[in-house]
C-alpha cells in the first residue's frame, strides 16, 4: 500500500528504519515520524470528522495513542495502514461519543438492493462535479460511508485493511464502498438543503 502519509524523501526502507528506531524509544525518530505524518493525518481526520477543530484535536490525540501503542505495531504490516487504522478507530470513537454515528449493520448492507445506474447519466453527473463539491457532499454522508470512502480513496487501504478497520467481513467491503458511492450520488444529485437519503432510509422504503 502506498498511503498518502508515506513521505516523499523517505523510502520504504528508511521509513521502516525510522519506525524501528522510534519503537526502540529514540525520541528523534519519533519526531521524524511526527513531522512526516502530522499533515496527512490531520487531513485524514479532517475528511472524517465534522469540524476543523475536531480534526486538529483528533490528530493530536491519535499521535499520543500511536506513541503509546508503537510497541504493539507489527513491523511485517505496512506502517501507514496501521497508522490510519488507529486514526480511524479514534475518529470512530469520537463520532460515537458525540452520538452522531449512524450504525449500519452488515446484514442490512447485504440485504439492501442497489439500483443499477445509467452509465450515461452517471457520467454526466461526474463530469459536472468539482473536488470542493464532492467534499461538501461527503460531509453529508453517513459516518460509515464517509469513513469507508476516506479509508479507500485517501488512505488507499486495501480491502483487507478496510475490513479490519471497520470491523467488517472482507466480502462486505465492496458492498459498503458501492453503497457509499450511491449515497454520495444521491447527495450530489440533490440541492445542499435537502436531507440526504441514507441507506437506512432507503431500506425502510
Amino acid at each position: 500500500m502506498n498511503g498518502k502519509g508515506n513521505p516523499e524523501g523517505m523510502g520504504g526502507e528508511e521509513l521502516a528504519a525510522t519506525v524501528a528506531r522510534a519503537r526502540a524509544g529514540d525520541p528523534e525518530a519519533w519526531g521524524d515520524l511526527y513531522r512526516q505524518f502530522a499533515a496527512p493525518l490531520f487531513r485524514f481526520c479532517r475528511r472524517v470528522l465534522p469540524t476543523r477543530e475536531d480534526a486538529e484535536d483528533a490528530a493530536m490525540d491519535v499521535f499520543v495513542k500511536l506513541r503509546s501503542k508503537l510497541g504493539q505495531y507489527d513491523p511485517q504490516r505496512p506502517f501507514t495502514a496501521w497508522l490510519y487504522k488507529v486514526a480511524a478507530n479514534h475518529c470512530w470513537d469520537v463520532l460515537r461519543r458525540r452520538k452522531i454515528r449512524q450504525n449500519l449493520e452488515t446484514e442490512e448492507v447485504d440485504s439492501l438492493p442497489l439500483e443499477h445506474p445509467d452509465p450515461g447519466q452517471l457520467d454526466r453527473m461526474i463530469t459536472q462535479q468539482t473536488g470542493s463539491g464532492v467534499r461538501q457532499a461527503l460531509a453529508r454522508l453517513s459516518d460509515r460511508s464517509r469513513m469507508a470512502l476516506v479509508l479507500r480513496y485517501y488512505a488507499e487501504m486495501s480491502y483487507d485493511e478496510i475490513a479490519d478497520a471497520l470491523g467488517l467481513r472482507r466480502a462486505f467491503v465492496g458492498v459498503v464502498l458501492l453503497r457509499a458511492r450511491h449515497e454520495l450520488r444521491d447527495v450530489l444529485a440533490k440541492p445542499a438543503g435537502a436531507p440526504p437519503e441514507t441507506a437506512a432510509a432507503r431500506g425502510g422504503r
Binding site: N2, K4, D26, R43, R52
Partner: protein
C-alpha cells in the same frame, strides 16, 4: 441486470462486480468472465469507465489540499499523555510527602507551637515573619494570587475542549490578565531600608539613632547606638552594645549581644554570646552558644548547637538539637532536647538550673542532672543508642524517600530534556574529564558565590549561584545513577528505558552510601562526576554549532492516486 439482444438475453456485469473488477479485487476466474463480457458489451464498458472516473474524482477530492494544516499541529511534537506510570510515580511521591510531613515536620511544628511560637506555618515563622524583609508578607500574598492565576489557567487549559476552542492565545492572554490583576492587587512595595557596604567595618556610635531598617555587609559591625528597625547583617563579627528595636538577622562568624534587642534574634554563625536582653525569641544555628548570668531572653530559644552554656535567664521554652553543654540558669517553660549521635560531651544540669516546665531529653548519653537543680517535674530521659545506618529501619525509609525524590526529578528531567539527560549520563562515562570539571565546579562555585555576596549588588548573583550549586549536587546523582544503570543493563534510548536504568542506578548508589566508611566517598565521587558531566554538557551546548540545524518543513502529501 439483463437485456435482450438479437442473439438472446445478455447478463450484464452488476455494479458491485464492476467495482471489484476495476479495483483488482475479483478472483481470476470471475475477472476473466468480466473481460470476456466487456469485449462484447459497450454498456458495461461505459459503466466501468464511469466507475473508474468516479474513483479518480473521489481520490482527487479527498487528497486535494484545500486548507492549511494548523500551525499548532506542525509545531508540536506531542508528548505521551499522563500514563499510569506517571500516576503511580506521583502517587508514590504524594505518599512520600505525606509520610515526611507526618513523621518529621508536623511533630516539630507541634513542638514549636507548644513552645509559644504561635500557630503559624513553620516556614512562615522561620523566614517570612521576621527581620529579613518587611515585604515578605506582601510577596507571599503576591505569590498566592499568582499561584491562583496559574491554577486557573491550568484548569482553563484542561477543560478547553469543554469550553469549545479556547485557543492557547486566549489562555496566554488570560494568564497575562490574571498576573496583571495580581500585580495591581498586591500592596505597594515594602519600606526600603538603609544599605551599607563597608569592607573596613561599620559602626553606629553611641547616641546615634537610625530610624530605618539596616542592611549591612562588612567585616566588623558594631552597634553602640540605636536602630529603630530591623538589623540584617552579613559580616565576620557583629557586636550589639546598643539597642535594636526590631529583629536581628545575622550571618556572621562571631556575634556578641550585650545590649538590647526588642524583637527576635536569628543567627547563622560560629559563636554566639549573649550578655544582654532579647525581647522575644531566639533562633540560632551555631557551633558555640553562651549566655552569661545577667543575659535574658524573654521568649523561647530554638537552637541547633554544638555546645551550649546557658547561664542566663530564658523566659519560655528551650528547644535544642545539641551536642552537649550546660544548663545553669532559670528557664520559664519546658525543656526539649535532642542530642545528636556522635562523640559529644554530655549535658550537665547544674545546681543553678531552675526549670519551671517539663524536662525531656532524648539522646545517646545520659544527661548529668544535679540533685540540687530545681526541676518542676521528674525529668523524662530516653537514651537512644544508634546502631549503624545499615541496620536501622529509619535509615532505609529515609533512603527510600531520597531515592523516590531523585527518581521523580530524574523522570521529569528525562521527559523535559531527554537529549540533555542522555548526553550528561554518557558524559559521566568519560570519567577523568567530568571528574576534573566536577571538582572545579564543586569547589569553585560556592566560593565564588560567597565572594559575590560580599557586595550588596553581588548578593543578587551570589545567593542564586549558591542555590544553583545545591541543586546541582542533587541533580548530579541523577546523571551518575543513569550512567551506572546503563553500565549495568546496557545502553538505552528513549525515556522509559532510561528511567528504568535510572531507577536501578539510584538504588545501587543509595545502597552503596549505606556502607560504613566507603559510603560517603561513593556519594562524593557520584556527586563530583555528575556535576562535571553537567558542566561539560552545558559548556558544549553553549558552543556555536558546527553546522546550522536542519530546518523544519511540513511534509508534502503524495499526489492523488491514479
Amino acid at each position: 441486470m439483463s437485456t435482450t439482444t438479437p442473439l438472446g438475453p445478455v447478463n450484464h456485469v452488476d455494479e458491485v462486480t464492476g467495482l471489484l473488477y476495476i479495483e483488482g479485487q475479483l478472483e481470476q476466474a470471475a475477472a476473466r468472465g468480466v473481460v470476456a463480457h466487456l469485449e462484447q458489451c459497450g454498456h458495461c464498458r461505459q459503466l466501468l469507465d464511469t466507475l473508474k472516473r468516479e474513483s479518480l474524482l473521489l481520490s482527487h477530492a479527498l487528497t486535494e489540499e484545500d486548507e492549511a494544516v494548523p500551525a499548532r499541529l506542525l509545531a508540536l511534537r506531542p508528548s505521551q499523555g499522563l500514563s499510569w506510570g506517571w500516576l503511580a510515580v506521583f502517587g508514590l511521591a504524594a505518599i512520600g510527602v505525606y509520610t515526611f510531613w507526618n513523621f518529621y515536620v508536623e511533630p516539630w511544628v507541634a513542638n514549636l507551637q507548644d513552645s509559644g511560637f504561635g500557630g503559624q506555618f513553620l516556614f512562615t515563622w522561620l523566614l517570612l515573619n521576621g527581620a529579613f524583609w518587611k515585604g515578605w508578607n506582601d510577596m507571599l500574598q503576591f505569590v498566592e494570587v499568582g499561584s491562583l492565576g496559574i491554577l486557573a489557567c491550568a484548569l482553563l487549559f484542561l477543560f478547553r475542549r469543554k469550553l469549545r476552542r479556547i485557543s492557547s492565545v486566549s489562555v496566554f492572554l488570560a494568564a497575562l490578565l490574571l498576573v496583571a490583576l495580581a500585580a495591581l492587587a498586591a500592596p505597594p512595595a515594602a519600606q526600603a531600608g538603609e544599605f551599607v557596604k563597608d569592607k573596613m567595618g561599620y559602626e553606629v556610635r553611641t547616641g546615634e539613632t537610625l530610624h530605618t531598617d539596616l542592611f549591612v555587609v562588612s567585616s566588623a559591625v558594631r552597634i553602640e547606638g540605636t536602630i529603630e528597625g530591623d538589623l540584617f547583617c552579613a559580616c565576620h563579627t557583629l557586636t550589639i552594645e546598643g539597642h535594636v528595636t526590631g529583629d536581628v538577622f545575622a550571618f556572621a562568624n562571631t556575634v556578641l549581644i550585650s545590649g538590647k534587642v526588642d524583637g527576635n534574634v536569628r543567627t547563622f554563625n560560629e559563636t554566639l554570646t549573649l550578655e544582654g536582653d532579647v525581647g522575644r525569641n531566639l533562633l540560632s544555628f551555631v557551633q558555640e552558644f553562651r549566655t552569661i548570668h545577667r543575659a535574658n531572653v524573654a521568649g523561647s530559644a530554638t537552637l541547633f548547637v554544638g555546645n551550649m552554656e546557658l547561664d542566663g535567664r530564658l523566659g519560655r521554652d528551650l528547644n535544642a538539637f545539641l551536642g552537649g553543654g550546660t544548663i545553669n540558669g532559670p528557664i520559664g517553660g519546658d525543656v526539649w532536647i535532642r542530642q545528636g549521635s556522635g562523640h559529644h560531651s554530655s549535658l550537665l544540669v547544674t545546681p543553678g538550673a531552675d526549670i519551671k516546665g517539663s524536662f525531656r531529653f532524648k539522646g545517646p548519653q545520659r544527661p548529668e542532672i544535679s540533685s540540687e537543680a530545681r526541676l518542676a517535674s521528674a525529668p523524662q530521659v530516653e537514651i537512644v543508642t544508634e546502631p549503624p545506618a545499615y541496620v536501622r529501619t529509619s535509615s532505609y525509609r529515609y533512603n527510600a524517600l531520597l531515592w523516590g525524590a531523585a527518581f521523580l526529578v530524574g523522570l521529569v528531567l528525562m521527559s523535559v530534556a531527554p537529549g540533555f539527560a542522555q548526553d550528561a549520563a554518557r558524559e559521566v562515562g568519560r570519567m577523568w574529564a567530568p571528574l576534573g570539571f566536577g571538582l572545579v565546579t564543586f569547589i569553585v562555585m560556592p566560593i565564588a558565590a560567597v565572594l559575590a555576596c560580599i557586595t550588596v549588588v553581588g548578593l543578587g548573583l551570589g545567593i542564586p549561584a549558591f542555590l544553583l550549586w545545591l541543586f546541582l549536587i542533587f541533580f548530579a546523582q541523577i546523571f551518575a545513577a543513569t550512567w551506572l544503570g546503563e553500565a549495568m543493563l546496557g545502553a538505552s534510548s528513549g525515556t522509559w528505558p532510561m528511567a528504568g536504568r535510572l531507577a536501578v542506578g539510584l538504588l545501587v548508589l543509595r545502597l552503596a552510601t549505606l556502607i560504613p566508611y566507603v559510603g560517603p566517598w561513593v556519594r562524593f565521587v557520584a556527586c563530583v562526576l555528575g556535576m562535571g558531566a553537567l558542566t561539560l554538557v552545558v559548556y558544549r551546548r553553549l558552543q556555536p554549532p558546527a553546522a546550522p540545524p536542519q530546518s523544519f518543513s511540513a511534509p508534502v502529501p503524495a499526489a492523488p492516486a491514479a
